[in-house]
Symmetry: C2
Subunit: 157 residues, 2 copies
C-alpha cells in the first residue's frame, strides 16, 4: 500500500463524505414541505431548463418514467410546478416552476450555492476552476449533460 494509493483512498472517502454534506441542508429544509430529495432534484432541473419535457427530464435524472411520475404529480398538487401542452406538439408536456416553486427552488439552491461559494472563496486561487474541471470530466458522460453543453436553454428544432 503506497502513499499514492492511500491518497486516492482518501479521495474516495472525501467523495462520500463531501456529497453527504452537500445534500444535508436542502434535505432538512424540504422536510417541512412534505417533499424529499427527488423532488428537489426535479425542481432544480426544471429551474435550469424551463419548458423541459417529461421525457427529457427523465433522461437527465436517469430514472424510469414510473419513478418520475409520482413526485411530479405531488409537486403539481403542491402548486410548485406547472404543466403546459406544447404548441409544436400537444403530446409533449412542458414543465415550468410556479412562482411558489421558483421561490422554493431558489431558497434550496441558494443554500448550496452559498456553501460552495464560501469554500471556493476561502480557499482562493484556482480552487473553483480546478474543482469544476475534475467534476466536468465525470459529469460529461451523463446523458443529461447534453442539455447544458451549449446555449440551448429552451429547445432547438
Amino acid at each position: 500500500m503506497n502513499e499514492e494509493e492511500q491518497q486516492l483512498n482518501k479521495v474516495l472517502m472525501l467523495f462520500y463524505f463531501g456529497y453527504r454534506t452537500f445534500t444535508e441542508k436542502p434535505d432538512q429544509m424540504i422536510e417541512k414541505y412534505g417533499i424529499q430529495r427527488v423532488h428537489h432534484r426535479i425542481l432544480f432541473f426544471i429551474a435550469r431548463v424551463p419548458g423541459i419535457t417529461v421525457n427529457d427530464l427523465l433522461s437527465i435524472l436517469e430514472v424510469s418514467k414510473q419513478a418520475l411520475n409520482a413526485p411530479l404529480r405531488q409537486l403539481y398538487e403542491k402548486n410548485l410546478i406547472k404543466m403546459v401542452h406544447a404548441d409544436y406538439d400537444k403530446r409533449f408536456k412542458q414543465l415550468y416552476l410556479t412562482d411558489q416553486g421558483k421561490q422554493l427552488e431558489s431558497e434550496l439552491s441558494h443554500v448550496q450555492r452559498e456553501q460552495m461559494k464560501t469554500i471556493f472563496n476561502s480557499l482562493g486561487g484556482n480552487h473553483q476552476e480546478a474543482w469544476i474541471d475534475v467534476m466536468n470530466v465525470l459529469a460529461k458522460v451523463r446523458p443529461g449533460q447534453q442539455f447544458f453543453n451549449e446555449q440551448n436553454g429552451e429547445r432547438c428544432d
Copy 2:
C-alpha cells in the same frame, strides 16, 4: 441572474452528475455478488479501519443500527467480513475483511481510484490537491471524519 450565480448553479449540477458517475461502475460490479452500494460502503470503511467496532462504523455511515445490521449479516454470510469479540471488552465486536472481502473491496476501490487518478493526471497541475482541499472542507463536518484525521488506524485507549 448574474454570471457567478450561473457558474455556481453549474457547480450544483456537476456535483449531482459527478457523484453519479463516481458510483456507477462499482454499482454494476457488485450486482453479480448479490450485494448493493451499502455493502460496498461497509466493505470500504472496514478496509480503511480494520478492527472497527459496529458502533464506530455506525457513526461513520450515519445510519441506524437497524439499517446496518442486515447488510452486515449478509456480508458475514457471504464470507466477506469477520467479526471478532474484542480482547479489551467482549461486548465489542471488531470487524475485519476476510481474504475474499479484501479481494472484492480492492477490486471495487481500484476501479474508483483509477477513475479519479486518470482524471487528476490528465488535468495535471494542482487539480488533485485543489479538489481534495474543497472536498475536505465539506467532509470535515462529518462525525465519522474523526477516524481519519490522524494516525489512529486501530484504536487508542
